[in-house]
């Protein structure tokens, strides 16, 4: 049975392949791709494009979770930064818009990091504050309306394409490579894992755990800001009530599906993004299937349960024992 016990990533890749196959069954044209106005068009592209916000969130979230933290505020930060970007889009150039939105995300991250690393609050409580307050801040910025804009630069960020791929996908890919290069190209990733594994021991061993924790929350805020800007650019407007709503849960789910433990320590960026893609592949499949919407959440829950069971060593162990028992009986 040890053969079934996954090497890292095997369970996730298997799950993705199975869900893709199911999607192909419910929707025969799932893998069809064509060019439409110089941009690839098809359900696979939808999966990548719609999966971008959660993928970006999971990039920050996985680092936070690796330090044994959690960031519930990312959805609200998306709303704030989307609102800022939309409000400035028609009066300022793209660099100013991006700087303001990402700067706001950075400040939000600093705030969370300050509460957790400096004041020693529990992450779930500390980030809950901004989760609740953040949406209110976003509503104040938009004055409760959906702020629309027509700035072609910002719209391009959501709907444009580079070499046939949607811009958001390219951005997410770039962020994955950048984050990977920074944390895995240096000892940073190891230090983050050490902080999450045992903060006290790491501190004694000379790891600046506070700085690590502060840094991961800041990065999480920046990733959320980028996701918020993309979400606003996608619909050419900032919807403070709904932008990023409940996406923090999807981001956490993506990280967990990616095999990173909520108890901190070892993490994988690529698998977290893969987790985000698994979630979106499932969502797109549900939309294509034509089932009544009442089933959406149920299907999602069952699939998530199956993916997590697939990863659980205990479950694999149980399955192994059952198989052995059956063999001895026969």
């Amino acid at each position: 049975m040890t053969a079934l016990l996954p090497r890292r990533g095997l369970a996730q890749i298997l799950a993705l392949i199975v869900i893709l196959a199911v999607d192909r069954v419910v929707s025969p044209q799932f893998f069809d791709l064509r060019l439409q106005d110089g941009r690839l068009f098809g359900s696979l592209i939808d999966v990548l494009n719609r999966g971008t916000p959660v993928a970006l969130l999971s990039l920050g979230m996985v680092l936070v979770i690796a330090t044994r933290g959690i960031d519930l505020s990312v959805g609200a930060v998306m709303a704030i930064c989307g609102a800022i970007a939309a409000s400035l889009a028609d009066s300022h150039g793209l660099p100013v818009v991006l700087a303001a939105a990402l700067g706001a995300g950075l400040v939000c991250g600093l705030w969370n990091g300050f509460l957790v690393a400096v004041l020693g609050m529990q992450p779930i409580v500390a980030t809950l504050i901004l989760m609740v307050a953040g949406r209110g801040i976003a509503q104040l910025i938009t004055e409760g309306r959906i702020v629309t804009f027509s700035s072609p630069d910002l719209v391009w960020l959501g709907n444009g394409s580079v070499l046939g791929l949607p811009v958001p996908v390219v951005i997410a890919l770039g962020m994955l490579i950048l984050t990977g290069a920074v944390v895995r190209g240096s000892a940073l990733g190891l230090l983050i894992e050490a902080t999450g594994g045992n903060a006290r021991a790491s501190e004694l061993a000379g790891v600046g755990t506070r700085a690590m924790i502060l840094a991961v929350y800041v990065w999480c805020g920046v990733c959320a800001a980028l996701a918020g800007v993309i979400a606003a650019a996608d619909i050419m407007g900032a919807d403070a009530n709904n932008a990023g709503l409940w996406l923090e849960l999807d981001a956490i789910l993506a990280v967990v599906i990616g095999g990173t433990s909520l108890f901190g320590g070892r993490f994988s960026l690529v698998l977290a993004v893969l987790g985000a893609l698994i979630i979106q592949t499932m969502n797109t499949g549900i939309l294509l299937s034509g089932y009544p919407p009442e089933f959406n959440l149920l299907v999602k829950a069952v699939v998530v349960l199956a993916v997590l069971l697939l990863q659980s060593p205990k479950f694999s162990g149980l399955a192994g024992i059952a198989a052995r028992l059956r063999r001895t009986k026969a």
Binding site: S43, D46, L140, E143, D234, I235, N242, P292, P293
Partner: protein, 321 residues
């Protein structure tokens, strides 16, 4: 309500309080829910306009989506001995005791936009609400009339699963198109009343229906989802409003913008003017003792490109939607 508008409202209320009430001028307290949506903000601004038109002193209390705040506001209106109370109830139950207090003080209560639990029927004078089943039916009838005899595959963007207004708008539309066998709802999925989800769901509808070739019309339970769906159609190289008909509900300003651009066909208005009919009913009740019917249904008006959408957009965009 936005902070600015809140400030303006309280400033206005203070100003009105400072003025000596002229003889015969009605004073009405309005317990409004709070800033839950753009439509709610528009309702508040239209209520102020309607009251000003009739020279009624309207005192608006923002409940910030909390029932206890609404109950407090009603008690304070009773203490001030207003002529009538308007209530947009945030929930449907738990009003019995405070409405009894109003009844004992002989202050008539009018419900706006939402009804309360049937047990409290004798506790209020009348309810001014829209019929969301009828809204769906108006949308369906427009589509049936526009399509005529030819076969038409419709895709539907539903509101949030479990929301009564979504269920009603679906029911009304389904009943209307059921009379026309050439109309068929081929796909129906929830877009959660939001632009982003409306766009995402429409993208999948387009893929599932042969790149959109098999879709003849889109019906959305609100305009916001339709705005998202219109973007999805455009990005797929389709021409909404021409190749694919659109009909949605609410009549928010942005759908008129799309209509003016020829990208949307029709919308059914959920009027933000609930206060106007309520004010008229109260005036008649006070002057002549006319008891209004228990339910005053607001008009579900249909707007199409023939109604000068640009002008409507200009008139609506300042209302706070």
């Amino acid at each position: 309500m936005t902070p600015k508008a809140l400030f303006a409202a309280s400033a206005m209320a203070a100003l009105l309080l400072a003025l000596p009430a002229s003889a015969g001028q009605l004073t009405i307290g309005f317990s409004q829910i709070g800033s839950e949506s753009g439509w709610r903000a528009a309702e508040t601004s239209v209520s102020k306009q309607e009251a000003a038109k009739r020279q009624v002193n309207l005192k608006i209390a923002d409940a910030q989506q909390k029932q206890e705040n609404q109950i407090k506001a009603i008690r304070s209106f009773i203490a001030q001995n207003v002529d009538a109370i308007f209530l947009a109830p945030v929930v449907s139950t738990g009003w019995d005791s405070v409405l009894k207090e109003a009844k004992e003080a002989k202050i008539p209560v009018v419900l706006l936009d939402r009804d309360i639990d049937p047990s409290g029927k004798e506790l209020y004078l009348t309810a001014v609400t829209s019929d969301s089943v009828h809204e769906g039916a108006v949308a369906g009838e427009w589509l049936a009339k526009t399509v005529g005899e030819k076969a038409c595959n419709v895709v539907e963007l539903q509101g949030t699963v479990g929301a009564s207004v979504a269920a009603n708008r679906k029911k009304g539309f389904d009943t209307a198109v059921a009379k026309h066998p050439n109309l068929k709802v081929v796909r129906s999925q929830t877009g959660d009343f939001t632009r982003a989800k409306g766009k995402e769901v429409m993208e999948s509808f387009i893929k599932a229906e042969g790149g959109g070739k098999n879709i003849c019309a889109v019906y959305a339970h609100n305009d916001d989802m339709m705005v998202g769906a219109i973007q999805a159609m455009k990005e797929a190289g389709l021409k909404p409003g021409k190749e694919i008909l659109t009909v949605s509900i609410d009549a928010v300003p942005d759908i008129f913008k799309a209509m003016a651009a020829g990208e949307a066909n029709a919308t059914v208005e959920l009027t933000p003017n609930m206060a106007g009919p309520a004010l008229d009913a109260i005036a008649a009740f006070k002057d002549k003792g006319t008891v209004p019917p228990k339910w005053i249904q607001t008009e579900s008006k249909l707007y199409t490109a023939a109604d000068d959408p640009q002008k409507i957009y200009d008139s609506k965009k300042g209302l706070g939607y």
